[in-house]
Symmetry: C2
Subunit: 131 residues, 2 copies
DNA sequence: TCAATATAGATGTAATTGCATCTATGTCCA
DNA sequence: TGGACATAGATGCAATTACATCTATATTGA
């Protein structure tokens, strides 16, 4: 818990210092760029990012207001929405990645070699497996 | 980040299900019980828990209102305060520990053997070392 | 000594998160 | 069919957190 707090805070700090939005925005933008047509249903983003439904709904409000995504109706289910990444959103993800990648290098990559990183990854996978 | 989120959420959930306060309260109570005379200066708690100063100040407000700590003046430095744990605070920490310990067992202990736990601990120590 | 600066802690205000609930659809089965 | 229940997403409101700043006291150096 402590290590995560330290590392995450350091990474967020680097993003903030570069005048960029927090990591949650990156996570959403990344999932959208990965998706076919750059669009996902809110619940799909929710599953992939572990964001709570109401938090995602409001994060999407902010991101929409900032022009990085927009919502469209989903005609196959009247309850659904599409969340579509915009050109500005694509550009922002790419810009964030330059900063994020160097933060990852500094705060993770420089501290573990490849073997250690693999070990850590495997141990954490054991922990996240649902019991 | 993902694993931490999953495990922490599971532990917090167990505490909440038992009608207990969140982990941050435990951290503060634990530091106070460890300290001589059950008292620390706010900045000492801050260092030990990584809580931001303004967040700790307000957390202490809540804990004081709940009767688990109280603040006293620190006569050697007019700017300072003592934070002192109460009997109710001691009892609450102990009560939380019973739930917390079993949550740790369920969400961590059952998933790693001792060797793996040591490995994880060492890897995380590498990450939290300041570069 | 005193002005400049630093430190401890509190607090006003805004942003975010959590919780409960709401609306609108959709699905299922008697 | 239609009533019961489920699901997708939004939202009102309360609690928490973040940010900036404030007050009070200490320290330091000219």
């Amino acid at each position: 818990m402590r290590t995560q707090q330290i590392v995450l805070a350091a990474i967020e700090q680097d993003l903030k210092a570069a005048g960029l939005p927090p990591l949650g925005w990156y996570d959403v933008l990344l999932e959208l760029t990965r998706a076919a047509d750059g669009r996902l249903r809110p619940y799909e983003i929710e599953e992939r990012t572990l964001l709570a439904q109401h938090n995602l709904s409001r994060l999407l409000d902010r991101m929409e207001k900032a022009g990085f995504v927009h919502r469209e109706i989903f005609s196959e289910d009247g309850r659904g929405r599409w969340v579509v990444i915009t050109e500005a959103g694509i550009a922002m993800r790419s810009h964030m990645w330059t900063v994020y990648a160097s933060a990852l290098q500094r705060h993770l990559g420089d501290k573990l070699d490849d073997t250690q990183a693999d070990q850590l990854s495997e141990l954490l996978a054991l922990l996240s497996r649902r019991s």
